[in-house]
């Protein structure tokens, strides 16, 4: 008798553990989740206002004043020169395009393989992609000598009878970013529609209700609406993955299509894509830690999510190292003289050595040491630290690829030196602040957790008694025929 009761107690304890470990086993009513998420959305605290104000000020300073100064006086106010014609602006551009690969990876790839743990993360990740692309898209305009003539790159018939050059990798950049931005904005919007309808339904003011009625397109949740939303999301899932891969490949071709020693590398395409996914997941880890803390999403984002993100980060560490070493070894072996001088500059006691070794430490050593254990991955601050280290390392990598490589070429008489100028630093800070500001603003406009997808997942997951123990199981509702 007492052993039966003990067994019942053990099973009850096991059930608690299972529920604590997996969000989708820990069912809550939809109404409760709706209110929790909406409350997080509606809460405008003093801290939030302060953050928005400071970020807005930095954006104005960097992307307003500093940029206006540069437009008025010319690119001489930046640190670029001959032969280092591209500097921090292009490094930043590549960096932000890299970060934009977070949303695609998590949302699209995990959706396509049916990884259920993605559910509370998708919206935060997709928002990252859209905002990173917006920030990245500013840089081609920023680095142009005559920014005000940017529209000459658009194929519009004109009376001057001239046309853009579609053979230029910069035109490929333009088309790729337009396609990816359009695709990821729609990809963010589609699963957001039912949640916008939810906010509409429970708005307290009439103005808000009408606003969200418009934004949600009058969504109700009828069978044709759900069916076609599902099909559209499936199409997008399978389209956005190759588009994302193509975007960073095309950005890498800005370098690979040249004959600059150190740029003309056939491995740049996949190397950049892997690097982008790497920095994207790193940034996503940081964003998730911050979102969980500041929005109070402890119920939604749990150890399991950080553990999985950490595992992806660790995998990407090895992928990146593999591709990097591939490129490095081939250059080392080939002994092209200009490359020898570039390597001399970057290693041992060369001037750029701190950047090079710093990149290796922050991209390889630190992430591996923080992420190899489950404890490291599931502790928020170590995961965030790994994510920051990865992004620092990836930024160093882009800095080495752009201004450091350009400073060593085939004519030693024309070797150069690059130091970022105050204008460039201000603009960089302004663009980072823009990314954070957009995120901070979005968190008060739409729910950052996709609640209907969580309910969809929770309905599918059950805890079943199998023999002497309890086992979590999945009932594939969506496969019902």
């Amino acid at each position: 008798m007492s052993s039966d009761r003990k067994h019942v107690q053990e099973l009850a304890h096991l059930e608690q553990e299972l529920k604590a470990s997996d969000l989708l086993l820990d069912r809550r009513s939809r109404e409760e989740m709706n209110y929790e998420v909406m409350h997080a959305m509606e809460r405008i605290s003093l801290g939030w206002l302060l953050a928005a104000f400071v970020l807005g000020g930095l954006v104005f300073l960097g992307l307003g004043l500093a940029w206006a100064y540069q437009i008025k006086w010319g690119l001489g106010v930046a640190g670029i020169n001959r032969p280092v014609f591209w500097g921090v602006y292009i490094a930043n551009f590549v960096f932000w395009i890299g970060i934009s690969h977070a949303g695609t990876l998590i949302s699209a790839i995990l959706r396509s393989v049916g990884a259920e743990w993605r559910r509370p993360i998708t919206r935060a990740a997709e928002a990252m992609t859209v905002f990173a692309l917006i920030v990245a898209g500013i840089y081609p305009l920023l680095h142009m000598g005559r920014t005000w003539r940017f529209y000459w790159m658009l194929p519009m018939p004109n009376q001057r009878v001239i046309w853009p050059n579609f053979r230029s990798p910069l035109m490929w950049d333009m088309m790729a970013i337009i396609t990816y931005l359009t695709g990821s904005m729609i990809f963010l919007y589609l699963p957001l529609i039912p949640d916008l309808a939810m906010v509409r339904d429970h708005s307290k003011t009439k103005l808000r209700k009408r606003l969200f009625q418009v934004l949600s397109l009058g969504w109700r949740g009828t069978e044709p609406e759900w069916k076609h939303l599902h099909v559209a999301m499936t199409i997008f899932t399978f389209i956005i993955i190759p588009v994302a891969a193509s975007v960073h490949t095309i950005v890498s071709w800005d370098f690979a299509m040249s004959n600059v020693p150190g740029w003309k590398s056939t491995i740049f395409g996949p190397y950049f894509v892997v690097g982008a996914i790497y920095s994207g997941v790193g940034a996503l880890g940081v964003v998730l830690v911050l979102v969980r803390k500041f929005m109070g999403f402890q119920y939604y984002l749990r150890d399991q999510h950080f553990d999985n993100i950490g595992k992806i980060m660790l995998t990407m560490t090895f992928f990146w190292t593999y591709f990097w070493f591939n490129g490095y070894l081939t250059e080392w072996y080939g002994a092209e003289t200009a490359l020898d001088f570039l390597r001399e500059f970057m290693t041992y006691r060369g001037g750029a050595a701190p950047l090079f070794y710093g990149m290796l430490v922050t991209n390889i050593l630190i992430p591996i040491s923080l992420l190899w254990s489950r404890a490291g991955r599931t502790t928020p601050w170590t995961l965030a630290l790994a994510g920051i280290s990865i992004n620092v390392g990836m930024y160093l990598e882009r800095y080495i690829i752009v201004p450091v490589t350009l400073s060593r070429n085939r004519f030693p008489f024309m070797w150069g030196h690059y130091v970022p100028s105050p204008v460039e630093v201000l603009i960089s800070i302004g663009s980072l602040s823009l990314f954070i500001l957009l995120y901070v603003l979005l968190s008060r406009v739409v729910p950052l957790i996709s609640v209907w997808e969580i309910q969809e997942g929770q309905v599918m997951h059950v805890i079943r008694r199998v023999g002497q123990t309890l086992v979590p199981g999945v009932i594939h509702w969506h496969k019902a025929e």
């Binding site: 010319g74 690119l75 000459w152 040249s258 004959n259």
Partner: protein
């Protein structure tokens, strides 16, 4: 050679640079500045690496004291037949001229992405980092045949295309062929040792055609396949201490 047609009636302009004759005097640079309205940027900007000269003279020291030699290598836009700077411009601000067979830079089309500058393996392209300043009375010296470029625009040696066109027009209106040596870019005109020679490679009797056959002839970075229109001569033992 390149993928465009070359008819015998067209001119194929090339420059020959005799490295053995170059004294490094810099007259070519000065003449280029004067002819093409190149702005003076000042010592501070030059130290930052923003020298605006379309032609540069690289100086290389060889040997140990007391047997030191100086070599001078004037480098300007090589007017490549397969120019790597051309395909990467998003707005077609640089393209290959079908008639003069040189690389054209269209100042008022350039939007300043500077991709062409990165792609030039000879590092001959120059960017306007600021608006040019011509303190009075230097503005009276500006050449009316050449645009004054504003900030944000790429520029480079054009083989003084304004002079080429002028001679072509004069010859056409007078109904006569162009004589060898009649077209002289500013640098060629100013060179005191005749280290720089300019002419039409299609004319078998021209000086450049003869020099191009010399056993001393080579081109810079030939293995890159850019097919430059500048031929260098080097091999003699003449040097300047």
């Amino acid at each position: 050679m390149s993928s465009h047609n070359e008819s015998v009636n067209e001119h194929r302009w090339v420059m020959v640079v005799d490295v053995d004759k170059c004294t490094g005097c810099g007259a070519c640079i000065t003449a280029c500045y004067a002819e093409n309205n190149i702005p003076i940027v000042g010592e501070e900007e030059i130290q930052k690496g923003r020298h605006m000269g379309w032609v540069r003279i690289e100086r290389y020291w060889e040997g140990e004291y007391p047997n030191i030699r100086a070599r001078f290598l004037p480098i300007m836009c090589q007017q490549c037949g397969e120019a790597p700077c051309e395909p990467v411009c998003p707005v077609f601000a640089t393209y290959h001229s079908a008639t003069e067979h040189i690389n054209i830079q269209v100042y008022n089309r350039c939007v300043g992405t500077r991709f062409c500058a990165n792609n030039c393996p000879y590092i001959t392209r120059v960017f306007n980092w600021y608006d040019p300043v011509f303190p009075e009375p230097l503005h009276e010296q500006l050449n009316p045949d050449v645009t004054v470029r504003s900030r944000g625009i790429m520029e480079k040696c054009t083989f003084c295309i304004q002079r080429i066109r002028q001679v072509e027009e004069d010859a056409k209106s007078e109904g006569r062929p162009i004589e060898d040596g009649e077209v002289q870019p500013a640098c060629v005109q100013a060179c005191p040792t005749e280290a720089l020679v300019f002419g039409d490679l299609n004319d078998p009797n021209s000086k450049v055609a003869r020099l191009a056959q010399s056993r001393r002839a080579f081109r810079l970075l030939e293995d890159l396949g850019t097919e430059p229109a500048v031929i260098y001569l080097k091999g003699g033992d003449a040097h300047v201490v």
